[in-house]
């Protein structure tokens, strides 16, 4: 690595850690961990607890990435859970059917590929609705979520699909080095790939530009249709991966698994610093925000006096608080920018 490169890396990391909202999230995360550790050291700081957290985290974490991509592009994706479930259901059916005729590993591999394809197609369908037919993303994905869930319900008749080949779940829940679930490894690889894509590729930059001014993006020669379609398609693919992880974790597929995740993913993305108006958001914030949600939900489970019902209430409150806080911060920023502009204008005329 040349001297210049190290400088750039240092510069980048300095910028990254200077980011106030990143630090705010980091502090919240550490505070939560300390609180839960003090309250129940054996329970919270146990390998069992960390493993149970890490099985669950990739499920909604990957879906949150889908929501993040579409929200940076100026929209939203409310269909992530629907796409995840439909992918899992179809994958499960293929797996069961194939297992009758071919060897188990082949059945599993084909089924996984089919599942990924289903998610990708669902996402592309959303992308088409949003980009070509100009349906507002919120309505398009709300509608398609119902559609995907509906297809799942019709196929399964509302009941779960289980008795999958044993190899799928054992592979899916495998621990690497006897410690880290394979799904966490997948999650980390995807996180790195997305970070690279958002920061270092043409598509990433275009995503931010389209989200911040659709018209100006068009005038800059950016193909807005492609960018939006790609964001939604990627969201579909990420959801499919999440669905396949759920399939391994529960060893079954059902159209109404993970229904609470829709709300949770939006909370994560907004808490993580993605602007609901589009154009802004970094993956570092989302990762912290995913960890915060997982830690707080596992931690709350240990308080016997707080029933599970409170979780909804707490998360609803957190979402509103974050939105309120962001609003205030933007307001202050605007004032600061106006002032900076004024000073700049004055120094200019001098």
């Amino acid at each position: 690595m040349s001297n210049k490169d190290t400088n750039i890396v240092q510069e980048e990391s300095r910028k990254f850690f200077k980011d106030a909202s990143f630090w705010r999230l980091a502090i919240i995360l550490v505070a939560l961990i300390i609180i839960f550790t003090v309250y129940n050291p054996e329970g919270f700081m146990s390998i069992a607890n960390f493993q149970s957290m890490s099985y669950q985290l990739p499920e909604f974490g990957l879906m949150a990435y889908g929501v993040m991509l579409t929200m940076i592009a100026g929209g939203i994706d409310l269909a992530v859970v629907g796409m995840a479930n439909l992918s899992a259901i179809i994958s499960a059916i293929v797996m069961l059917r194939l297992a009758e005729s071919v060897s188990e590993p082949v059945a599993i591999i084909v089924a996984v590929l089919v599942g990924l394809l289903v998610g990708t197609l669902c996402g592309a369908f959303n992308g088409l609705l949003v980009s070509r037919l100009n349906v507002p993303a919120m309505l398009a994905t709300l509608g398609s979520h119902q559609l995907f869930t509906g297809i799942g319900l019709v196929i399964t008749q509302g009941s779960g699909i289980s008795r999958l080949p044993a190899g799928y779940s054992t592979t899916g829940r495998m621990l690497i080095l006897d410690l880290i679930p394979i799904s966490v490894i997948i999650f980390i690889i995807i996180t790195a790939a997305l970070a690279f894509q958002l920061n270092k590729t043409k598509f990433g930059q275009e995503l931010y530009l389209v989200g911040s001014n659709y018209e100006a993006a068009k005038f800059s020669g950016i193909n807005n249709y492609n960018v939006l379609t790609r964001a939604h398609t990627m969201s579909g693919l990420l959801s499919a991966v999440a669905g396949l992880i759920m399939l391994a974790n529960y060893n079954s597929a059902k159209p109404d698994y993970g229904t609470a995740y829709t709300m949770q993913t939006i909370l994560i993305v907004v808490l993580g610093g993605v602007s609901p108006a589009g154009g802004f958001g970094k993956i570092g914030g989302i990762v912290l925000s995913i960890l915060i949600l997982q830690v707080s939900s596992s931690g709350l489970n240990m308080f016997s006096s707080i029933s599970n019902f409170y979780r909804q209430l707490i998360w609803g409150l957190v979402l509103l608080l974050v939105l309120g806080f962001n609003f205030l911060r933007n307001y202050m920023n605007e004032k600061r920018i106006a002032k900076a502009g004024k000073t700049a204008a004055e120094t200019e005329t001098e």
Partner: protein, 500 residues
């Protein structure tokens, strides 16, 4: 009775550390049209807000119609006869004309119940005062910009306005609408109403104003009758710099860059023919709706034309989309910088490379970080954009610097033909001069440029030929050397005069 409707003395106003006004004064006589001029950030808007009671002054005195006002609030200002018509007119677009006009007076009277007949009566009287022919039941959102402005003026009049302050009233108006507005302003003047006209477009303000006050950096630099000012001294007072606009003298080279044959887009423009050589600057003049913007959009691959051919360097081209036309060497600086040209919240750097991402990315879509940085610094230097840090959002820049960013964004794509639509709208005089210099240099280096503009002097100085568009057709090709600002202005507004 005082001779003055408004006397403002030694006003000081600071915003957290920044002194916006450093003891300014402004006197407006009864029945006069007074112009307050100054560049962006010179303190014009701050003073208006103080006079209308929106901001509180730090020190100084305000005297309205002979009465000293100590704690001015918006309501007090309106009661004493000061009305402000803001740039956006502050009308309710979903309500009717009469509701918009009469609404305020109903509020001022503290009435509880609304009576539609009384509303209508009040509105009728108000529109008659300025000979404004309008359907009182029309929805304001459907009216033209000029009519919306008249609704705002009518509304100001029913509140017994003695002083009407108009903030940049001509920004969105066509030349003929400006003429009509000036006629109405003169009528108001005859009725003894004073007008304070806030503007930085000099050709207009000269025509209408009796007296001038010019601010620079929150201080008075000139007060006096309009006759004491000319273009040169006006620019000097505004900017403290002397400008000499020289026409573009570069000779077009023999190589043809762009040719258009019988280009037609139904309902927008018809049978357009022209050619443009390397190093040439071509002007396009015409009123709003003459098809000039639509033509530019078709040349830029935004809209597909119905008929006709476009040749670039003698090769016929058909643009699939904007990216395609950029690849063929076209660039377009759009009409509306804020909505079409810039990503306001994004960084200055990203704005500069926004149209050039395909060239900066290699295999696997990966952006070349170093090349990107170089590109950004190159254009910031070349166009001398005043930037503290290219990572700051572009909205922190002044209008002139923002326009340079848009220009840089297009120059970064290394175009052969650059189309500029209103390149200096909303840009201060200094930056305007600089942008003109940059364009002349670019043409000398061989860039073929098309300038679409409302600014007649700008067209005449920069371009050698001017195409006059009317009703979607090229009406006339004018040689800039053989025309004058007055003649061209006359020609452009000709058709409307016939209608009116």
């Amino acid at each position: 009775m005082s001779e003055y409707i408004l006397r403002v003395k030694d006003i000081v106003k600071s915003f957290v550390g920044v002194k916006a006004l450093q003891g300014v004064s402004l006197d407006i006589k009864k029945g006069e049209v007074h112009c307050l001029a100054g560049e962006n950030g010179s303190g014009k808007s701050t003073l208006i807000k103080i006079v209308s009671g929106v901001y509180e002054k730090d020190s100084g005195t305000i005297e309205i119609d002979g009465e000293i006002q100590s704690n001015l609030t918006p309501i007090k200002a309106i009661r004493s006869g000061v009305q402000v018509i803001y740039q956006d007119f502050s009308v309710f677009p979903n309500l009717t004309v009469y509701e918009n006009i009469a609404f305020n007076s109903e509020l001022m009277d503290n009435r509880i119940l609304a009576n539609k007949n009384r509303f209508r009566q009040i509105a009728q009287e108000a529109v008659e005062k300025i000979n404004f022919n309008v359907d009182l039941d029309a929805i304001v959102g459907d009216l033209s910009v000029a009519d919306k402005q008249l609704v705002a003026i009518s509304r100001a009049l029913i509140n017994n306005a003695k002083l009407i302050i108009m903030d940049e009233p001509t920004t969105a108006l066509t030349q003929n609408e400006v003429k009509a507005l000036f006629k109405r302003i003169n009528d108001l003047k005859d009725q003894g109403i004073s007008i304070l006209f806030v503007s930085h477009k000099l050709d207009e303000v000269f025509e209408i104003s009796d007296r001038f006050t010019i601010f620079r950096n929150g201080q008075n630099v000139f007060t006096g009758p309009t006759s004491e000012l000319d273009n040169e001294s006006f620019s000097y007072f505004m900017t403290n710099r002397k400008f000499q606009e020289t026409p573009y003298e570069g000779k077009p080279q023999d190589e043809e860059m762009l040719r258009v044959e019988n280009l037609t887009s139904e309902g927008e423009f018809y049978n357009i023919n022209f050619s443009l050589n390397k190093g040439e600057i071509l002007g396009i003049a015409g009123l709003l709706g003459s098809g000039r913007t639509e033509l530019a959009l078709s040349l830029f691959g935004m809209n597909e034309p119905d008929k006709g051919k476009i040749y670039i360097k003698n090769n016929e081209v058909e643009f699939k989309d904007v990216a395609d036309s950029i690849e063929h060497g076209l660039g377009y600086v759009p009409e509306d910088r804020l909505t079409e040209g810039l990503f306001l919240e994004q960084s200055i750097g990203l704005n500069i490379v926004a149209a050039n991402l395909p060239n900066l990315s290699g295999t696997m879509d990966t952006i070349d970080g170093e090349a990107t940085e170089n590109e950004i610094t190159t254009w910031i230097d070349n166009l001398s954009i005043k930037v503290a840090d290219p990572k700051l959002p572009v909205q922190t820049l002044s209008g002139g610097n923002q326009q340079r960013v848009v220009l840089g964004k297009w120059l970064a794509t290394k175009p052969d033909v650059l189309i500029l639509n209103g390149p200096t709208v909303g840009v201060d005089i200094g930056s305007k001069h600089d942008i003109h210099t940059i364009l002349k240099e670019l043409a000398e280096e061989g860039l073929a440029i098309i300038i679409i503009s409302d600014d007649i002097p700008e067209l005449i100085t920069l371009s050698s030929r001017i195409l006059l568009m009317r009703d979607g057709q090229i009406n006339e090709e004018i040689n800039s050397a053989e025309t004058s600002v007055a003649e061209l202005t006359e020609k452009i507004s000709l058709d409307i005069d016939q209608v009116v």
